[in-house]
């Protein structure tokens, strides 16, 4: 009985284990960029192999199980790393950077690209980072998580964050300078990936559900022609470099713009959000 009384009086508080931050695993490249920008001295890894689409790629169960060995697991969230929905990860370690941001729902569309085969998109649009302002908000989310670990040099981390913050603010401001120019076009896009760009620039982008170039068929062109208005200046935004062959299929008056969706490293093999977004701005300036 005394034992019972003793245990009943014991507080629910548990002794907090001293957490240490030694390694961070990122589930996609936009998450990896932020993570390595804040704490480059830590062991950093990006789980997503270059060339794979995070929306449809599935890691092996052993790889998922080994993620628990990292101190922090950073993902973009909103369903971007879709395999998370059926995988088991330690919730205390998993950070979804997109989750606290306003969502844009995806329209259900059946299509095919990457290794996922024919599939349908549902849920929320995860491509938040295409708006540098939103991406900027995410670095502060990550900063809060990293600073929650003891033994972190607050001043150094805050300085690094402020450097990236300034770069992202500059990118956002530069992007906004193209708002007027883009407003003069009737814009379409090959996919829904540009929804946050559309929102940032207060544009109206008609999103098609075009597959990768190799699977581009006449019916996709018919879809476009059904929407196309010959008397207007039309801008077609692509998430990949459209070949001359595919451009030829479209009316001559249609302008084409490749806008890197920043999900993969650049052609040189390294992922640098700032540099790659600047290249997007250069392409916009060449319009």
């Amino acid at each position: 009985m005394l034992w019972l009384i003793y245990l009943s009086c014991t507080s629910v508080e548990k002794t907090e284990e001293l957490r240490s931050l030694k390694s961070i695993a990122s589930l996609s490249f936009p998450a990896w960029f932020l993570s390595q920008s804040i704490v480059p001295e830590l062991e950093q890894s990006c789980l997503l192999p270059a060339g794979e689409d995070a929306l449809h790629w599935n890691p092996a169960p052993e790889v998922i199980a080994s993620l628990g060995e990292h101190d922090v697991i950073v993902g973009m969230g909103k369903g971007y790393e879709s395999w998370i929905q059926t995988a088991s990860l330690p919730s205390k370690k998993l950070i979804s950077l997109n989750d606290k941001l306003a969502s844009i729902p995806l329209k259900g569309q059946t299509h095919s690209h990457g290794s996922g085969g024919t599939h349908q998109h549902h849920g929320m649009n995860p491509y938040v980072w295409l708006d540098p302002k939103q991406y900027d908000a995410q670095i502060f989310t990550l900063q809060t998580v990293i600073l929650s670990f003891p033994e972190q040099d607050d001043a150094v981390i805050q300085e690094r964050v402020s450097v990236v913050h300034e770069q992202l603010v500059t990118l956002s401001e530069q992007l906004m300078t193209y708002k007027e120019k883009l407003s003069s076009f009737v814009i379409a896009a090959d996919s829904q990936r540009f929804a946050y760009l559309e929102k940032a620039l207060e544009l109206d982008i008609h999103a098609f559900d075009f597959p990768a170039e190799i699977e581009f068929r006449t019916k996709h062109l018919q879809d476009f022609m059904g929407w196309y208005q010959p008397e207007t200046s039309v801008l077609m935004i692509w998430s990949y470099h459209p070949s001359a062959e595919i451009i030829q299929k479209f009316p001559n008056s249609v302008r084409h713009l490749y806008f890197d969706t920043l999900v993969q490293p650049a052609e040189n093999g390294t992922y640098d959000y700032i540099q790659q977004f600047n290249q997007n701005l250069t392409r916009l300036s060449e319009l």
Partner: protein
Amino acid sequence: MIQHAIFLALRYIRSTKGTTSLLVFGLSIAVYLPLFSYFAVDAVQEKLVERGLESPILVGYKGDQFDLTMNALYFRGTVRDSIKMNVHEELQARGDGISVPLNIHHTASKSPIVATTLDYFAARDLRVAEGRNFAVIGEVVAGSRVAQDFHLAVGDSIRSDVTNLYNIAGAYPMTLKVVGILSAHQNEDDRAFFVSIQTGWALDGLLHGHEKVTKENVLNPQAKEGENLEATAAIFLFPEITDENRNTFHMHGISSQMPIDSVLFFPDHQKSHDQVLGEMELASLHHAIRPHKVVQNILSIVFAIQTALHAYFAVLCLATVSFLGLIFSLRYRLREEEFVLMERIGGAKNIILVMLCTELGIILIASVLVSAMLSWVSLSVLQMLI
């Protein structure tokens, strides 16, 4: 002289093995019953209270607290109504504790399958002794006892039991792959299988994989491209989640609206503990309970039974002692001639008394030893059962 009395007593006991054994047995049972009941109640109390205190807050559908506690803490019985996954998500989003969803209504060879998240292992301090923890749907981690009972090793498979034989439209049994075995923890966790919460939904049929829906196996083959194809009930559902078909498993609905039986909440501090209890008071469909309070209620019944048992055993002991007195007085009368003879050949009266006391002492000591041994064996069995 006393040595001679002891020698005679031992000789007598040897010559009456049958009756002495019977006496020892009867007396042992009389001592064993109150001894075992005392330690058994203590052991049960310790186990129940320990588990209750290790589970500060339990959230479930408003209703029977006893069912909820027995299901979530001891994996026994089922809860009548489920709550939504968003209850867990909201608790998790607080960030001041560990929230663990639980779905415990499936079994494999009658052993409970606990569908939960990896946080359960962290909160309960469970360690994987062999293999690894579950990572994707279709994987299972076995408790140490259940692995031992079914001779399971990493790489083996188990099959979930049929939940309803008469519901052919319900969920089918699924084959799950054992990827890890937990180390022994001497509690309920040793006797359960653990799967991810998504695997639990797969067992419910809410998350499933099936053969490709084509115009050949749909109810509306006339549907045009882009229109929804309505699959027939005869479509082949995958009974096993493999590396090949895992990607095809999908949920009809969003995870936050999926059903769970309960949520265990492990607060970081007293403040969050009190806040969660307070906030849950305002919820209309679910409530938060303190499992150790429920356990104490159960124990109060056990204590009442124990008190009644003590009274019963006291009467039993009294009766046994009376019988023992009667038996010894009868034995004395039967041996009266023997004692007279002993006196005639020079045996002192006090030596005869010492001899009789020694006989009684040996019988009592033997009875206490036997009852202690019986109690120890019974308690060991009980420890394994509770």
